[in-house]
Symmetry: D2
């Protein structure tokens, strides 16, 4: 076999020329905001340095991790939501989950994403600091963001919708970000249909549930999940950190995300990135 053709890889050339990396994932820590529907995040060290010291003076610490898969920044696999007993593609949900894992639509089937990403900065388009609690982001709002930014959405893109709600993530009261009482801004059925019509590959938001939650209603209905996950097979990414990228006015980028290949699971924690190359 001969050597690989070095220096003939445009991607690697672009990386070598220098890139800016935006971290779109939240730090995972005990007590962070999360939905009571999911097992809470917890981390503990079974072994600390000094607990066991090898003959040569070496020692190691390690961790035990416990969490829901829809906790922190995470992606929803298509197995996550059903409607009238059917998953995306019409599969019977009861049959699909038999055995306790989703062989077909589990998160291990979500291919790593190396794609064009577009941030739709809705508050900027609305000329507001943030969308108000419980505000429904409409197709007109999404259109306005696209126009203002000059970033049309294309088939196969990953589209991230900024509501501004993300700035509550670090509030002292973790319930603020969850927003059960206040409601949370986001798209609903109409916005989801807008995304589906655009043919996006995945969609993300800076909120815990992706969609518009009316005040006091919690998660009693999740219509955007139905439209996107069930009807169109579009992955959802929740609890994203979109403030920094918005502050820098970065609306188009290379989106990178590799979910953990948790065999048969309905979601995975992720650390998505937005990467910007040189001109």
């Amino acid at each position: 076999m001969t050597t690989t053709a070095r220096h003939a890889d445009r991607l690697l050339d672009a990386v070598r020329a220098g890139v800016a990396i935006y971290d779109l994932g939240r730090q995972l820590s005990i007590g962070m905001p999360q939905s009571p529907n999911h097992p809470p995040f917890w981390l503990s060290m079974p072994r600390r340095h000094g607990d066991m010291v090898r003959a040569d003076g070496g020692s190691a610490a390690n961790d035990l991790l416990v969490m829901g898969t829809h906790v922190g920044t995470h992606v929803d696999a298509l197995a996550h939501v059903s409607h009238d007993g059917r998953l995306h593609g019409g599969a019977d949900a009861a049959a699909a989950q038999a055995g306790g894992r989703f062989t077909e639509l589990g998160v291990h089937t979500v291919a790593p994403m190396v794609r064009r990403g577009v941030l739709l900065d809705v508050p900027a388009a609305l000329d507001l600091p943030d969308c108000p609690p419980g505000y429904e982001i409409t197709p007109a709002d999404l259109d306005a963001a696209v126009r203002r930014q000059g970033t049309p959405v294309q088939a196969g893109d990953v589209v991230l919708i900024r509501s501004g709600w993300g700035r509550h993530f670090d509030d002292e009261d973790p319930g603020r970000y969850v927003g059960r009482e206040s409601g949370v801004p986001g798209i609903s059925t109409a916005g989801a249909q807008w995304l589906a019509a655009a043919g996006v590959h995945a969609a993300g938001a800076d909120t815990i549930a992706f969609e518009c939650l009316r005040p006091g209603q919690g998660h009693s209905a999740l219509p955007a999940h139905r439209v996107l996950l069930v009807e169109h097979g579009i992955y959802l990414i929740e609890t994203m950190a979109l403030e920094e990228i918005a502050r820098d006015g970065v609306h188009e980028f290379t989106f990178l995300m590799a979910p953990l290949a948790l065999y048969g699971a309905t979601g995975s924690p992720v650390r998505p990135l937005a990467v910007v190359g040189r001109a």
Copy 2:
């Protein structure tokens, strides 16, 4: 604010031109090979479809994830290993771990990696199908792989060392891959010094412990961990899937990896990627 400068991002242009993505992570499943030193991987669905059905016919399934952070394909943070009570940079390990998390050298401080990656295919260089159990990969072997492939290692690279041992990952007996009895091939002190001298940013291997394990000796000494993590601040990536990329003769690529930002933890499961662009 004006719009972002679309079409002037070389990275995004390269992505749009088409890329090949190699998955360097192992699927995480119950019963997979793992070290008894770490909490085993387990996954369970607290809620299945139909357990709670919303008024509109929607239902959701979710998961509870339990695992060590050094299980499956994972990265070691600098907090993982100490020598004579000191972490990388000389920090006192006992002080650094006070509070039960590593504020300074935890895995949340590992920046996402978008870098040149190099695969060193050692068995190919040795003209063997695989390195034998317990075989120590020497600097001469690494040099031979570089020469054969024509891929010199550069400062800042991520270097992945293939021993061929990865083909045991899916053996019926998970103990085969762990290799406690048989030993496992890998580099030791000398190979680690070779990597450190080259100034690599991170190093990976297709084995569970990265280094050469002599038959029957288990993890009684881990000299490459000391050299790389403690002395040089070089991250380690273990249990990688390197067979496919080797089969395709891909030795140079864009390496992508974003560890979960587990605050204060000593490691994180990861799904690293090798991405190859067009010429």
Copy 3:
């Protein structure tokens, strides 16, 4: 070997004559009140009936349990609390916990209890329905309860102190029982010294932290823990269900409790019983 001497066991004779069993443990369920200092209780079924059916038509369901050991009704081992770096008996806490488990004072060293138990019904003695939030139960209150009931405390007894706070355990808002804002009634230093002077073997309460918590101060100081666990080696039992036994006016009984022998742990969930025999 000959047969055992049947019918000559007074204990068994008493059991056969009939006993009343009071359950002093709380049901463990997801979302129940618990301190944020401890990993939350969670339960999930990895396998449900039908997931795997044996050839003969048999199938089994099982569970994955995740919890802190100081969650729900539980016992504190002597390893749980230190003062000025010392555990009960003067052991150095840092040395005792080296290795990540307490070989000496862990909960596996707590012998199962089959002992005289005494309920001190403080609100009854105070002629109140319940002790008010943040109320400190004093030695005079304990004396009053003893007098009213006619149940002097004896060395080796297990003494359960009812404040009446237990009726908040099932409140819709789990924070009510935790009582961070309101405070919680209980004994403090003086009451603990009263128990120690009486030579009790263990002491329990119907609250989450055993002691008097002043409003808004949370767990900033736990003086009764120091007196009982550290200074006197007296076990503590928290989050007990004492309403039923109080309602029935049962103040003296056989107390039964067998902590899980979790090797090296600082506590264990328990289901203590009060058993009353015939006259």
Copy 4:
């Protein structure tokens, strides 16, 4: 209200006269023998002494516990096993488990046990040190044990069947006790019917699966579970420590066991006791 009638409780009088307590539970420790069908036991300290020190010098350590509910010494609730889709009493298993917990037959419905207990020491009756691997304990063997001991089984008893296999629990190789290759001694259909005919309340054994496992066949069929749990509503207790009680020739005793009230679960870890009073 008047005082309780002290000194008129025969049970408490018997306890005060002095009792011998036998611990029938195994210590729970990382790496102990357990079935791969269940989540492994793990324990870790999120907080150690010194991690957080209160102003008064107090500090506390705590634990995170992860385990299956059929791990270590444990009791099977009636929800654990179904046959042809039916649980004990004919309940539809699929319906009963909807929601992810067993409202009806979960382990929280198992009443604490304070009952006559009988140990049937089968190897002693067979004049063998232990039953051989894979040996089926027959009704004739059970009858022989009863005769030899002079302890007829009565309705409502808890009957513990000693095979002698328990001495493998602490073997260096945890697989020895599990016995997948070797097989494990125990009763099968006929022995289960013998217990059911006697009207026992619960039955226990010193093995991991209660029943006779033929060499190499693992858990492919569990007929005694069907007879006892499904057909007769008799609880099973597994992985018991029966060596000490057998050594002391104690065949009749007061059996005490209080499962954790894990709401909706299929089993619970337990620490059963055998208590012997004075003549």
